[in-house]
Amino acid sequence: MTEGLRTSPDGVIDDLLSWPQPLEVDLTSITCPVIAIHGTDDDWEPLANLRRVIDQIPDAHLWLCAGMNHLGPLLHPAAVLALTCDA
């Protein structure tokens, strides 16, 4: 966090301003495979919201992490990396 704010708060401000805005793209136009890894108990970014997005992406796959919260998937970094590069 300290490094992120090292030179200015601009990133924070721009991110916060973007959050109330709808996504700027047509999700149905995404052609690459999309894998979403999400904890079922994530109450920072609730799963219900993610479903709303990936339901519109043609080639989307959801990997649920049962009982995990927002940071839970990052407790398994090698597994996340393996899914990312299809190892």
């Binding site: 992120g4 990133g11 793209v25 079922t40 219900a48 970094p77 597994a79 899914l83 990312t84």
Partner: protein, 205 residues
């Protein structure tokens, strides 16, 4: 080239964009979009031994206005394109893209607008721009937020566009490639970052 390098490039002759490049150089190159609050250093959540075990060269880019990347006006589509500038600088045409948390919206934006560059998009605990759906807002009211957890846990994976692997399969994947030593320990990894000959370079594109 060292195994870990902090690099700043000039984009369009005026903006500084900074990225962190970690992992074996012969690994699969994965680009990384950090969350909020965060920076390119966030990728240190992925221990070096995990990068080596899976064979991943992980390149995280400070998003505009974060860390050592200059701000950029515009929407998520415009601000996500620094990833493409860094890939161009490294001579990487197509790559998997990992987007964490608040980086998710940027990852989606890039996947939609640069389809020939993104081989696959992986969203990890991703933000899904919740505030444009009144029903979702209702679900996120404080009094109802608690009820969202059991509802999410119990919700069926019935969408035709989502291929739902079972939790058991995910657990199998986890147990297959992830061991106790690969659990993230940022406080341990950041010092190790400094110990891995992490230099800083600047160059122009």
């Amino acid at each position: 080239m060292s195994e870990c390098e902090d690099t700043s490039i000039q984009v369009d002759g005026r903006r500084r964009v900074t990225f962190l490049d970690r992992g074996p150089r012969d690994g699969v190159t994965v680009m990384y979009l950090h969350g909020f609050p965060g920076s390119r250093l966030e990728q240190c959540l992925f221990p070096y031994e995990a990068l080596e075990r899976v064979g991943v060269r992980l390149i995280s880019v400070d998003r505009p206005g974060w860390g050592l990347t200059d701000p950029l006006a515009g929407d998520r589509v415009a601000r996500a394109r620094d990833v493409l500038h860094v890939a161009d600088h490294l001579g990487i045409d197509q790559f998997p893209l990992m987007a964490i948390s608040a980086g998710g919206g940027y990852g989606v934006a890039l996947a939609a607008t640069a389809p020939t560059r993104i081989a696959r998009l992986v969203l990890v605990s991703a933000q899904a721009a919740p505030y444009d759906d009144p029903a979702t807002i209702t679900r996120m009211q404080p009094g109802q937020l608690a009820s969202l957890r059991p509802r999410a846990r119990d919700a069926p994976l019935g969408s035709s566009t989502v291929a739902p692997p079972s939790d058991a399969n995910f657990s199998k994947t986890l147990s297959g490639v992830s061991g106790p030593t690969s659990r993230p320990s940022p406080q341990r990894n950041v010092p190790s970052l400094n110990n891995r000959r992490c230099g800083t370079r600047s160059s122009a594109t």
